[in-house]
């Protein structure tokens, strides 16, 4: 194998991780667009949904039936979470809501451990085994599959945000909920919808990555940090940004981990963050984010 193929192989590996980060980052971006907060529990909710899928399959449901059921359950679950957990602190300072999601994180994580224990569960791979061989570079079908689904979800979200009146309503709610209500927008429903959609996207993310990461209650904990990084780099409002950010973070950390020996695998987490910091210093709103309008 030549050095170039090696490099490409590592890059593909990075794209694989990047796709995982991007998938969760999309859910984070979604919730941020709707509610203006960062949701620490996003990864754990995705993990919970994945367990739901696992449970369904364990009771004999085939994957392609379990998936839509799980997505539906997650949609409803997202609504419930908004209604029960988030609604009571609506209007409280933003940080209060963020801390509530931290509480939710701890709760869901422990709950999953309580119900399903911490042993690793096997989760069927929806994509075929093996992969493509492109001039000596091996690309697993699963990587391609995740990338494909992420791209589709990104496209859908882009359409939702930019080309539907629902997207407009959603932005209005995130921007100024009080005025949105005065315009007759049912803010409560919009927020419920936001949580529901985010939970659904999160569930999809969980189901996609579970065969790679292996299902256990802490599956998404590590992903969350990288998904935050991806969303931050991309600009937290933009689905395209989330995906670009995710892939970039994945490739950057993999390549530095593998090739820059001073950094090495142990310190590679620092690399994407240094880059993010550098990007943000130039563009404080992230690569694809919108600058907030400010004037006196």
């Amino acid at each position: 194998m030549s050095a170039v193929t090696d490099l490409l192989q590592q890059a593909v590996e990075g794209l694989g991780s990047g796709a995982v980060y991007a998938s969760l980052a999309l859910a984070l971006v979604l919730i941020h667009r709707f509610t203006g907060i960062i949701n620490f529990a996003q990864g754990e909710l995705a993990m919970l949904s994945t367990y739901v899928a696992w449970q369904l399959m364990a009771s004999g449901m085939p994957f392609w039936l379990a998936l839509p059921v799980t997505l539906a359950v997650s949609f409803a679950g997202g609504m419930l979470v908004e209604r029960i957990v988030i609604r009571p602190v609506r209007g409280a300072p933003e940080l209060t809501v963020v801390i509530v999601t931290v509480g939710l994180f701890i709760f869901v994580n422990a709950l999953a451990g309580l119900i399903w224990s911490f042993t690793v569960k096997d989760f069927p791979q929806p994509f075929p085994d093996g992969g493509l061989d492109l001039a000596g570079v091996r690309v697993d079908w699963s990587t391609l599959g995740i990338l494909g689904v992420v791209a589709v979800v990104m496209g859908l979200l882009y359409l939702l945000f930019q080309h539907t009146s629902a997207g407009l309503v959603m932005r209005a709610v995130a921007c100024n909920p009080a005025s949105a209500r005065l315009s007759g927008i049912r803010v409560g429903r919009v927020l419920m919808l936001g949580w529901a959609l985010a939970a659904t996207v999160g569930a999809l993310s969980g189901v996609l990555v579970a065969p790679v990461l292996f299902l256990e209650p802490n599956m998404m904990g590590g992903v969350l940090i990288y998904a935050f990084a991806a969303a931050t780099l991309g600009g937290f409002d933009s689905p395209v940004g989330a995906v670009v950010g995710g892939l970039f973070v994945g490739v950057a950390e993999t390549l530095t981990g593998a090739y820059v020996h001073v950094v090495g695998e142990d310190l590679k987490v620092g690399v994407p963050f240094v880059i993010i910091l550098a990007v943000l210093l130039v563009r404080p709103q992230g690569l694809f984010g919108r600058a907030a309008v400010e004037r006196v």
Partner: protein, 375 residues
Amino acid sequence: MSTITAALGTDRARRRRAALTALLAAAVAGCVPFYFAPFQVFQLTMVLLYAVALAGLNLLVGFGGQISLGHGAFFAAGAYAAAVMLDRYDTGHLATLPVAAAGCFLLGLAFGVPALRLRGLYLALVTLAFAVFLPPLLKRLEPVTGGAMGLTVDKLQPPAWSGLAEDQWTYFVVLGVTATALLLARNLLRSRVGRALRALRDNESAAEVMGVRLSLHKTLAFAWSAMFAGVAGCLYTWVIGFVSPDSFSSVLSITLLAGLVIGGLASLYGPLLGAAFVMYVPSVSQDLSEAAPGVVFGLLIIAVMFVAPTGLAGLPGRVLGAVASRLPRTTAAPATAAPDRTPEAGPAPSTPSTPADPAVADTEPVGAPPRTERE
């Protein structure tokens, strides 16, 4: 004129009351270690040292409006500074405190400069990244930090003349440092500097027009708050006698922020309450459920935020307010309580709405202070 003299009168009365409260608190704090079991004294010591870190974070987040999810890193830096000095140079405990403080101050200063460009969420997540990055870095610097195994150092020992047990002596020393730190923070906030900080939190442009130098105050706020976290970390080393990279994971940073918000942002004694929460509630959770303490802990966090959305420090006021507005007439104008609630942006959390119509949640005009908003 009479109103002024009256105001002066109440002012003096208030001051006297404050002095009395302080005296009482000091007396109680002084007696505690002679009454409680050593491990309870230890717990209180931990509460005090976390309170220092939270007070620092409060300067930044509560009063300065900059969110940091990376203060565990400064805490760790302070802890390691102390541990390394004790381990390698045998400097004695007291010498580590100024070094940890100064070191973290400088570190905070260095961080404060890029932080100037970043806002809200972005700053929060970049600082979180720093917290994530620190443990592997500490592991890498093995020759100095002892690597993954960490460092075990001597705890604080009581001098013979004191006649105190180890836990008591440690408690008093930590109490002294904490009191000093809280006093410094309070002084800072009650001055021109503190006002400038709060002003730029509320409205940066207006503050700048008033002559507040944003870069200076924001960076220094970062530095102060890092210093407080570092001091807390140093105390931690004194008390625990052991540091390891995995003790300072990003969870610590998140816990600190959670503690602060739970205790009460921008409140002077919120950090103490938050520290107590962080310290005691996990134990309470496992008393409630051995099978899954995390389930209970998570629920308790959420529950506290429901009951006290502006933090525990605001709770008594909210309760009193709610009672006061209920008492005179049962049908009294549905109030939003919280008379003492810092009138910050956003509506007050609602009093429970009529069950028949759950949609009526917000009771205060959501745009209540719109006029003071930026354009």
